[in-house]
């Protein structure tokens, strides 16, 4: 777990970069975002966690000023998206969930035309494109078409494109979904560098390790609402225990356990194939279970992760 510098919007002198009060998005009768409140401080890396359909992308699109707010208040960079959409968009960089690269243009031209959208001169856009291709390690592909690039390369190109205007705020919607581990780590590394340079990052993800790697602070969304907020460490402390013990029993044996494990941990969760004991001292729980004559086939004691928090808050059933 990376414990980044915890920049908190509350109580600090700098005004928040994003401020949402009662922020709501409805499509007809369907409520995609239901009266959420949050603030993002300058320089912070802020995450929206949640299962598919929780309202993360709708929230990101409102922040990105491409989706009108239905109700509530939203200010981005101190401006009102309804009145100042183009001005706000001029200062943010967006990496959408699905790449929107122009596959009929070269890698370099994708960046140059994007710079032009932001009012840059051609020569300036070209210079900036070269810098960014270097930053995302795509310099040798500058002249090639976009189509043959791998998923990871396209993602890096999307990130480079979103940086063309030197944004104060980056919006990343599931930046590493679908990438292989090498590509994910390269993307994380680049995002971490941006964060260190002071760029504010707002990202959505359903990868817990990504949230732990990158986010100073995050909110968990479920069914259009925010159900928890804090740093990764705070969330684990609040919603889980220090350690988790996973026990696997021989087939059928788990059903005969009755309540023999219940008092060994703060919380016990029975899954079809294993039992999870949430306790601050996992080893002690194992010893106590063995003293009662229980013989699990395998035992794993691990630290609690955000995934435990996430599953506790949003449930284990599939959302479809």
């Amino acid at each position: 777990m990376v414990a980044g510098p915890t920049a908190s919007g509350e109580g600090s002198a700098t005004p928040p970069l994003i401020c949402a009060r009662n922020l709501t998005k409805r499509f007809g009768a369907f409520t995609a975002v239901d009266a959420i409140d949050f603030e993002v401080a300058p320089g912070e890396a802020f995450g929206f966690l949640g299962p598919n359909g929780a309202g993360k992308t709708s929230t990101m699109r409102m922040i990105g000023c491409v989706s009108p707010v239905t109700d509530g208040e939203l200010s981005v960079l101190g401006m009102d998206p309804a009145a100042d959409g183009p001005r706000i968009r001029a200062r943010i960089g967006v990496v959408p969930q699905q790449d929107t690269l122009d596959t009929e243009l070269t890698v370099e031209d994708n960046l140059v035309i994007y710079g032009r959208y932001f009012g840059m001169k051609r020569s300036e856009a070209k210079r900036r494109a070269a810098e960014l291709l270097d930053f995302v390690q795509l310099t040798d592909r500058a002249g090639s078409q976009v189509e043959p690039l791998s998923g990871g390369m396209k993602r890096r190109l999307s990130i480079a494109r979103s940086l063309i205007n030197r944004p104060d705020l980056m919006l990343l919607d599931e930046p590493t979904t679908g990438l292989d581990p090498q590509a994910r780590h390269l993307v994380w590394d680049r995002l971490y560098r941006l964060k260190q340079r002071g760029t504010t990052l707002v990202l959505t993800t359903h990868y817990m390790d990504e949230a732990e790697q990158l986010c100073d602070r995050l909110v968990v969304m479920d069914k259009a609402r925010i159900v928890a907020e804090g740093s990764p460490r705070q969330l684990i402390e609040r919603y889980s225990t220090r350690e988790v013990t996973e026990m696997r029993f021989a087939p059928g044996e788990q059903d005969r356990l009755d309540h023999q494990l219940d008092d060994l941990a703060e919380r016990v969760e029975r899954l079809p194939d294993r039992v999870l004991l949430y306790a601050d001292d996992g080893e002690a729980a194992v010893v106590a279970a063995r003293e009662r004559g229980l013989q699990p086939e395998t035992v794993l004691v691990r630290r609690s992760t955000l995934e435990d928090v996430f599953l506790r808050l949003t449930g284990r059933s599939l959302i479809e």
């Binding site: 998005k25 409805r26 499509f27 007809g28 369907f30 995609a32 990105g64 491409v66 989706s67 009108p68 707010v69 239905t70 109700d71 509530g72 208040e73 939203l74 200010s75 101190g78 401006m79 009102d80 309804a82 009145a83 100042d84 959409g85 183009p86 001005r87 706000i88 968009r89 001029a90 200062r91 967006v94 959408p96 699905q98 929107t100 690269l101 122009d102 596959t103 009929e104 243009l105 031209d109 035309i113 994007y114 032009r116 959208y117 932001f118 009012g119 205007n165």
Partner: protein, 284 residues
């Protein structure tokens, strides 16, 4: 995407805000959306220009010269008042431009939303839906003006040009193309799949191409089909283009204004629909 569902009207309260830094003006942003199309054209301009030459050469050869010889021999030239080739060429100019305009307003537009998501990428920048729509339509106007100009150039060696006023038929053809391109683009901006475009071409564009007076006077159509021709833009584009080319416009300037008015009505009405469709599709 939730483009099909209309967002609930906003009831939000405004927030106090400091003055925002300036961005580029509206027209400069339209120019950027246009520039993107220009950049794309750099890849295909050779083939595109070659086709723009080839098509009038083939049509004027087969219809104007080949078929025209028989028409004139049978007294058609006398009935029409000019050799068939001279009658055909200005009408065919408008009809050809209509075809290119219609194509440019279907697949590339839907592709911008669905395949490449080019418009979504633009919208994440200071460029708004109106600028994107206008930039795209301005590009279509450029493309079809090029097609029309090449058509007129090809007419010259065929001897199909009677007066230098023919250059005025090029903007008329462009307006005819836009009378189709803007409403079709508005429709394309609402589509998610391309199957319906085939119906547009099969049941609207191709019949209009054949029966709007380019190849023979509309008066030869059965009486009940003639009013349909009057309602469609191509009839007016063909008639106006031909009256300019043959110099008959001086005899009936009133009817020329009617033609112009119908074309403008279609083009501007389509433009409004297009702006609405782009706004709805992008800002949901």
């Amino acid at each position: 995407m939730t483009a099909a569902i209309a967002p609930t009207p906003s009831t939000r309260t405004p927030i106090a805000r400091p003055p925002a830094p300036p961005t580029e003006g509206f027209l400069a942003r339209v120019a950027k959306a246009y520039e993107h199309q220009f950049l794309l054209y750099r890849r295909t301009w050779r083939g595109s220009l070659f086709n723009s030459f080839l098509s009038p050469v083939l049509f004027l050869l087969a219809m104007g010269v080949g078929l025209g010889t028989y028409v004139n021999r049978g007294g058609g030239g006398a009935t029409l008042g000019v050799p068939y080739l001279v009658f055909l060429a200005p009408g065919l100019l408008a009809a050809t431009v209509m075809q290119t305009a219609s194509f440019e307003a279907t697949f590339p537009i839907m592709g911008g939303f669905v395949w490449q998501k080019r418009y979504h990428a633009m919208h994440a920048t200071p460029i708004g839906p109106a600028e994107i729509a206008l930039g795209q339509l301005a590009w279509i106007a450029t493309r079809i003006t090029l097609v029309g100009s090449i058509f007129v150039l090809v007419m010259v060696p065929f001897g199909a040009v009677q007066s230098p006023l023919i250059v005025l038929a090029v903007p008329v053809a462009t307006l005819t193309g836009l009378a189709f391109a803007t409403p079709i683009a508005a429709y394309a901006a609402t589509q998610k799949v391309m199957t319906s475009f085939n119906y547009i071409f099969r049941f609207a564009i191709t019949p209009l191409f054949l029966f709007s007076g380019a190849f023979f006077p509309v008066e030869s159509l059965p009486w009940f089909l003639q009013p349909i021709a009057w309602l469609t833009p191509l009839y007016h584009g063909v008639a106006l283009s031909r009256s300019i080319a043959l110099g008959t416009i001086a005899a009936g300037p009133g009817i020329a204004l009617v033609h112009l008015g119908v074309l403008l009505l279609y083009a501007l009405g389509g433009l409004v629909l297009c702006l609405i469709a782009f706004q709805r599709r992008l800002a949901t």
